[in-house]
Each structure stands twice: as structure tokens, then as C-alpha cells.
Amino acid sequence: MSKLTFRKIINFLALSLCVTFALIVMFPLFSLLGYVISKGIQVINWDFFFNLPAPAGESGGGLGNAVLGTIYMVGIAVILALPIGIMNGIYLSEFGSQKLAKAVRFLSDVFTGVPSIVVGIFVYIILVKTLRTFSAFAGGVSLAVIMIPIIIRTTEEMLRLVPNTLREASLALGATSWRTTVSVVLPSAAKGIITGIMLAVARAAGETAPLIFTALNSRYWPGELFSPTASLPVYIFTYAISPYVSWQDLAWAGAFVLISMVLLVNIFAKLVSSRFVQMRGE
């Protein structure tokens, strides 16, 4: 066998190995999606979105309050996490060669790895015990704590990808460094930052553990900021391990809706960021 044929065979083998492992990764992902979708679609109907849960043993009822509660608390979390996360990311990338920046970067890395149940206990102690009630606000705070480090790191990394020549061009025009960040650097990195925020939203939307400690659960529609509030993940958890078939069905439907919401958020993010770039360029 000539040397060239040998090299070609090696190349082919390496390539097939990569494809094989890519397929192995995709298999559990698609089987999970397929299973949840097929189970969920059988039991989902309009009642699911517009009704409150039915008492145990009765059929029918929905998880409208949980869908709304999840949107509500993720909304609170986004309002809290966006300014903190983005400002920190800007600080680390644009102004962060100081010691303080290194400390912030290290801490946000540590925070990414903190188990979400620990976040739950932490918020339980500072917000639930002191206010003496489980609440949507405490739930939103715990989700924000999970989102913030993700937003910080993606913002920082996306800003770092913006070529330095653009910063120089802007500074050389007599722009201050803040103006440079707002007018030149942020718009150039907007696509990546939006994607990062959406990833953080998707991650937070599916969290169960911190919500059990903070928002608990509720059989009623959400509304009050400082009352226990229902959420999809907690309902899925409670209903999936219950002995009633009608509840288990609702859990499947809930899982299906949750996955769809996360998927929609991602698709929406892609649309928004591409539209955003187009508009800037027109």
C-alpha cells in the first residue's frame, strides 16, 4: 500500500469517527424530543392553557396558571438579570484589566457552577424567611441568580470578539470609551449577546429546584408579586410522580409545552437578531 493511500484511509477513518459520534450525540436528543412530543400531543388541548388544575381524581382541568406563572417569573428574572448581566459583561470586556475585574470574572465563573438547589436555599433564606411567604418575586430572584453569570460571560465573550480596530476607529473620532461601547461595540456584538440572553432564559425557564424553595406552588392564577406562584417545572415534578393517570397526562402535556416554549424562545431569538442586523445595515 502506498503512503498516499494510507493517508487517505486515515483521513476517511477519522471523518467517519466524527460522524459516528455526532450521530451518537443526536440520538438521545431526538429520542427525548420525540418521546415528549408524542406523549404530550396526545393529551394536550385548549383546556390545558385556559383552565386551572382539577382536583385529584377528577379528569379534565389544565395548567394555565403554571404556564402563566413560568412566564411571569422568567419575566421578573429577565428584568433583574439583564442590566446586571450586561453591565458586568461590558465592564469585564471594555474596562476590565483591574484586580476587581479579575475577581468578578472568577466569581461569575464559580456562580455558573453553583447547583441550582443551592441557589434556591440561598434565596429561601434571604427572601422567603424574612418576608415570611413564598412568592413570585423570590422565584424570579432565584432564576435571575441563575441567569446572571450566563449573561455576564456571553456578553463579555461576544464583546471580546469585536475587532479592536473598530474601537480604535471610534476613539480616533473623538468618541469617549462609553460612547464607543454603546454606538460601535455593542451593536457589533448584539447578535451574540441576544443569543446568550435567550440561552439564559431557556435555562431559567426549565429550572425546578430553586422554585420549590422560593415560589413553591399554587392552585390559583398568578398575579400577586408576594404570593406563592405556580410554575410549569414544579407542576411537572409534582404531577409526574403522582399516582393519578390524569395528572401524569397533564405532566406530559406540561413537559411538551415547556420544551415548545424554550424552542420558540430560541427561534424568536434567531429571527430578532437576524432582523436586527438587517435593519442596521439597510
Binding site: T165, E168, S170, A172, L173, R179, A190, R280, G281
Partner: protein, 254 residues
């Protein structure tokens, strides 16, 4: 249009961390003329012109010592404002760097928008004026709102020159503006420089000696951070005083 002003550089030295890149340069740059700075790679010529509009300071650990005056006004030190210095001394960089998220129009409009649009003038008029002055108007007038990235490399660089001129500067610094361009685009830029030099003090760094000979009135030759020779361009190219200048110009090294 403001009048061009003379630049006076006294005992200028510059460092990166502990590495000294520019050694004790003394130089007068004449108003309304084109001054070329030539020299081999790494001789400190880019560092030198980046000191003039204080872009050198944006690099962490970088340091400048000495004095620079723009018509008797000090540019370095606490009495001058860095934002004001950069508005009055604009700069064009080696690689064309129009803002990718902005349209052609916005790229030119951003400078005046940041620094204030002159009274009684509309931004549309200002942009049109600048584009006509830089001979870009006919090429881009139908697509002012399309992304700047759609332009060719040479057009992008001319757009960057237009963007710098929109600030109505007194001095224009060009840091190897043609090194990433083809010969035709280079010719366009050289023509442009000849057209605008009347009202400006232009300093151009180039490693292309023919270019320096073609467009400049004065030439300074840098070697290992030192200004070896500075004189009228014809004099430097035809009858250099220093042996090292002669060696470089005749192609014995560099």
C-alpha cells in the same frame, strides 16, 4: 473649513511597558503640507504618529514622554483634553475599518453626531459635502443607506478618510493607509490626498518609498525608534545626508 496648523514635536519618547519604541524625536511638521514617515517595519513610525493624536495611550502599559504642540497649544499633559485632541487630529488606520453595523451615510455622520454638528447645517448636507470632497459621491449616492461592508476595500478606505474628514480636523494622520489595497485603489487614495492637502496638515506613514516620493512634500526617515533624517522629500531621496538613509532608500536593507 478650519486652517491647517503646524505640529511641533519636542523630545518625544514612547514606551510599551518597558520597551522603548520611540527615542527622543524632535520634528516640525508644516501646515498644509504632506509629510511622509518612512522606515523599515518595527522602526517606531506607527507608534510615533499614534502619539500625535494620543491613540498610543489606549494600549495598556503604554507611555509617552515629551511635548507636542499644535500651533503653540500643548497636546500632551493635563492641560489638553484627549477627546478634543482626537477630534482635531483625525486618523485613518492600516486596515479599512468602517463600522460594520452602520450604513455608508451613518459611518460619515457618526463623527459630527458625537462631536456636534456645526450650527445652521443639516447632517445630510454635511455628509454630501464630504462625499463630494472625497470623490466618493458618484459611487455611493444611490446607496447611502446600504451597509458599508458592501463597498470594495479601496472604497472602504476612502470612506474611512471621509469619516475622518467629517470632523473638520486640522491634522490628518494616515497610518499605512494603502498597505492592504491594490495599486488602482492606492492611486485613488493618493489622488485624494493631493486634493485635500491644501487645507490640512497631513502625516502619512508608509513603507512604500515610491509612494512617499510621489505624494509628500517632506519626508522623515525612522530607524530603530530614532528619527534619522528629516528634510524636503526631493532632498531626502536625491541627496540624503545620513549614510543609513541612503542605504535604506537605495534598497540596501529594509
Amino acid at each position: 473649513m478650519t486652517l491647517a496648523k503646524q505640529l511641533e514635536i519636542k523630545n518625544l519618547s514612547a514606551w510599551y511597558q518597558n520597551v522603548k519604541a520611540v527615542y527622543d524625536v524632535n520634528l516640525n511638521i508644516n501646515a498644509g503640507k504632506v509629510t511622509a514617515i518612512i522606515g523599515p517595519s518595527g522602526c517606531g513610525k506607527s507608534t510615533f504618529i499614534r502619539c500625535i493624536n494620543r491613540m498610543h495611550e489606549t494600549i495598556p502599559g503604554a507611555r509617552i514622554q515629551g511635548e507636542i504642540f499644535l500651533e503653540n497649544e500643548p497636546l500632551l499633559g493635563i492641560r489638553s483634553d484627549v477627546v478634543d485632541v482626537r477630534r482635531r487630529i483625525s486618523m485613518v488606520f492600516q486596515k479599512p475599518n468602517p463600522f460594520p453595523t452602520m450604513s455608508i451615510f451613518e459611518n460619515i455622520a457618526i463623527g459630527p453626531r458625537i462631536n456636534g454638528i456645526p450650527k445652521g447645517k443639516k447632517i445630510e448636507e454635511l455628509v454630501e459635502e464630504i462625499l463630494i470632497r472625497t470623490a466618493l459621491w458618484d459611487e455611493v449616492k444611490d446607496r447611502l443607506n446600504s451597509p458599508s461592508q458592501n463597498l470594495s476595500g479601496g472604497q472602504q478606505q476612502r470612506l474611512c478618510i471621509a469619516r475622518a474628514l467629517a470632523l473638520d480636523p486640522e491634522v490628518l494622520l494616515l497610518d499605512e493607509p494603502c498597505s492592504a489595497l491594490d495599486p488602482i485603489s492606492t492611486m485613488h487614495i493618493e489622488d485624494l490626498i493631493k486634493q485635500i492637502k491644501e487645507h490640512l496638515t497631513i502625516v502619512i506613514v508608509t513603507h512604500n518609498m515610491q509612494q512617499a516620493a510621489r505624494i509628500s512634500d517632506y519626508t522623515g526617515f525612522f530607524l530603530t525608534g530614532e528619527l534619522v533624517e528629516f528634510d524636503k522629500t526631493e532632498k531626502v531621496f536625491s541627496n540624503p545626508v545620513d549614510k543609513r538613509t541612503e542605504d535604506y532608500i537605495t534598497g540596501r536593507f529594509g
